[in-house]
Symmetry: C2
DNA sequence: GTAAATATATGACATATATCATAAAGCAGA
DNA sequence: TCTGCTTTATGATATATGTCATATATTTAC
């Protein structure tokens, strides 16, 4: 198994810092895994034994918070998830990761990564940079939710999947209303009601999980002003 | 100017990875600055020209969010703030930093830090570790706020300053009600009302900025269950 | 020291949001 | 196909939270 993967976004980021010598031992130790929809492949509390990144697919990060509530932390594409958030900070994961779409995950020995950081400055720099951008994005989204009303929160979820994941006006939401509730901190009923209200106001069309954005500017305005 | 600072918490973390050779060039380039209360010494949008860490004091991270609202991101002691959140991710700061108490900040050339990361693997590892822990804490606090009611939010602020900053039952809040509002996403009036209610319920005593915790278990219970 | 600005406080009221109840629709398994 | 389980949906109602008005206390500027 080698690293010549067409679809690997991470490749460009990480591998440009690795010379052919290192690349050999690096890629030789790689394992690739297909994760079916709904599978939780990292569990909160598990010991961190490997370094994982998302090669393809869509995942959610979630946790049980300090007082026992289920909470979704963020949604991520290959650009968003590499499991270094905790590698050097803790020895167990502080969150779980579940596939929302069939996903491909690449797995490396954690020792190889640690060794690379110590011996390859360029790699360390790229890793810090990638990790910083990812956690800045997650934090920024989390902070955005704190100061918004139920309308702004639900609008931000719909706009997120439109602008960051699917890029089309019509798409199937990869999450349930309950998961939107777990992400926004709203109750399920409130999420459903706000979606219904958006539908009645002609902002979106809704058929179960399918969402079609009719008035994107209207949604953006709600996102900005509430 | 050298690095033999008694009060430097960072020293222990960073410097144990630096040999005496590197230490000389490192410490020779160090600048120390006293920051008076209320001074904003890092401004959102400013170009990142140096590497800063908090040697002593208390600061707040804050930002203008994507739609123009003032928002406090977190409060930090020396263990919480090193300005690497963005160093490799962006070339400008995405937040401002203001001193809540008279603080001491150490400043290094950013080039020295970048060079150290590239040439000293142990330093890179420690830096990643420190940064990870700091951003995990900030994210975790932010996530906590999303799913809490006004009572839980205000209780968490009071408990934060008690348990993480002052360690005593009585202390002067280093922030205004308005700043609590900017941190929690509540309105100022709501913050004031909740504090008054806590006072009337015998959980705390309040004299302006001074808070005295009477019923810590009660506060914790509110924090956990709302 | 005084005026102006800001911070704290509270009431009255409107709006936002949660909770409880109920029902229909979709979905998984026997 | 039937049965049970989960999801989506909506109404009725209670509670949480924001807004506006106003007053006092405190801080800041001169």
């Amino acid at each position: 198994m080698n690293c010549s993967c067409e679809k690997c976004h991470i490749q460009e980021i990480f591998f440009k810092s690795i010379n052919s010598n290192e690349l050999d031992s690096f890629c030789g130790a790689r394992t690739e895994k297909i994760i079916p929809v709904g599978t939780t492949f990292i569990k909160q509390g598990d010991k961190i034994r490997s370094f994982k990144y998302l090669k393809e697919g869509l995942i959610k990060l979630h946790r049980i918070d300090g007082v026992g509530n289920r909470q979704i932390i963020s949604f991520g594409t290959p650009m968003d998830f590499v499991s270094i958030h905790n590698i050097f900070a803790e020895d167990t994961y502080s969150y779980s990761v579940t596939a929302l779409e069939t996903s491909t995950v690449c797995i490396f020995s954690i020792d190889i990564i640690k060794r690379l950081i110590k011996t390859n400055g360029k790699f360390a720099e790229n890793l810090i940079s990638t990790k910083s951008r990812a956690s800045n994005r997650i934090l920024s989204n989390s902070l955005d939710l704190i100061s918004k009303s139920m309308y702004g929160k639900v609008a931000s979820v719909i706009l997120f999947f439109h602008e960051k994941i699917y890029f089309t006006m019509g798409f199937d939401l990869p999450i349930s209303r309950k998961e939107i509730a777990e992400y926004t901190g709203l109750s399920i009923e409130t999420v459903i009601r706000v979606i219904s209200e958006f539908r009645r106001d002609g902002l979106i069309r809704v058929y179960g999980k399918r969402i079609e954005i009719i008035d994107k500017d209207g949604l953006i305005s709600i996102y900005k002003h509430s």
